[in-house]
Amino acid sequence: MNEVIGIIIAAILCWLNFVIVDTYFGLPEQPGVRGASIIGKDIEKRGGDIAGGFFQGNVLCSPDASAGTLLASIGYLLLGIPGGIIAAFLVFIGNRLCADPGYAGTVGSLTATIIIFLTSFIGLTPEMFIVGMVIAILTIMGIDQTRASIVLGKVAKKFNRHARE
């Protein structure tokens, strides 16, 4: 498959994977660690959404499904399917060391491994998923935090996981 098209498809798949897993396991609902709460309140002060702020803070402060997706694609590149599972195990240990209560990281890396394995039949390679995941994180953390937090707040409302409900 053409590399550019593959990277675009992989970025969309990664974005959907980590946003859905993170939202389902309640990242926008409450800050899991101390820094996430500070970031969420700061983003709300700048005109963003508090649930999206908590989401971004949790993504930044402790390993969750976004870190899980990235590490799973790196592990898959190096060691194949067992590499993705080792990545899930290491993300689990990282969660414990960060005192982060949550299931999102481990579940996210396992689902990412499954997605990479299934899409390898249509020609997507793990390298495309690494680049795609970096682009996906850039869209929610790097370009415009307040607007991204509003979008994430809408997703959280759809899943019934908003902080203010």
Partner: protein, 129 residues
């Protein structure tokens, strides 16, 4: 010139055509070993009286259960053995059973000692600005 990054990645993923690295046992045996490890760890965890499901709002994963940390630890350790190409007897089945039993014992007796719970249960919420 030396393209170090490309050479390293190419060397590491050279034999990785089928997504299974350089493991010498077949794909069916690997899948069977994973299933045996998962089932064995869950069954032994239930025998040791660890609850099957975690406590209800699925947000606080420090409470161990038979579904959440036990099979993850089992398949993680089994994967490390597989990619190191150490598969003991009967195409890895014996290894899978041993790792399943040991991970259930670890979760029951050593988990709270190795990964202690944070002292403040709702850390991150009591912040005064």
């Amino acid at each position: 010139m030396f393209d170090l990054m490309y050479d390293t990645i190419f060397f590491a993923s050279k034999v990785n055509f089928f997504g299974l690295s350089n493991i010498t046992i077949g794909a069916f045996d690997i899948a069977l070993a994973y299933i045996v490890a998962i089932l064995c760890s869950i069954v032994v965890a239930l025998v040791l009286k660890i609850p099957l499901l975690p406590s209800k709002p699925y947000r606080y994963s420090f409470d161990v259960s038979a579904i959440y940390p036990t099979p993850i630890i089992a398949v993680g350790i089994l994967s490390i053995f597989l990619v190191l190409n150490y598969t003991f007897m009967y195409n890895g089945l014996v290894l899978a059973v041993i790792i399943g039993v040991l991970s259930a014992l670890f979760v029951k007796y050593l988990f709270d000692f190795v990964f202690p719970k944070p002292l403040d249960e709702n850390a991150g919420e009591d912040i005064d600005e």
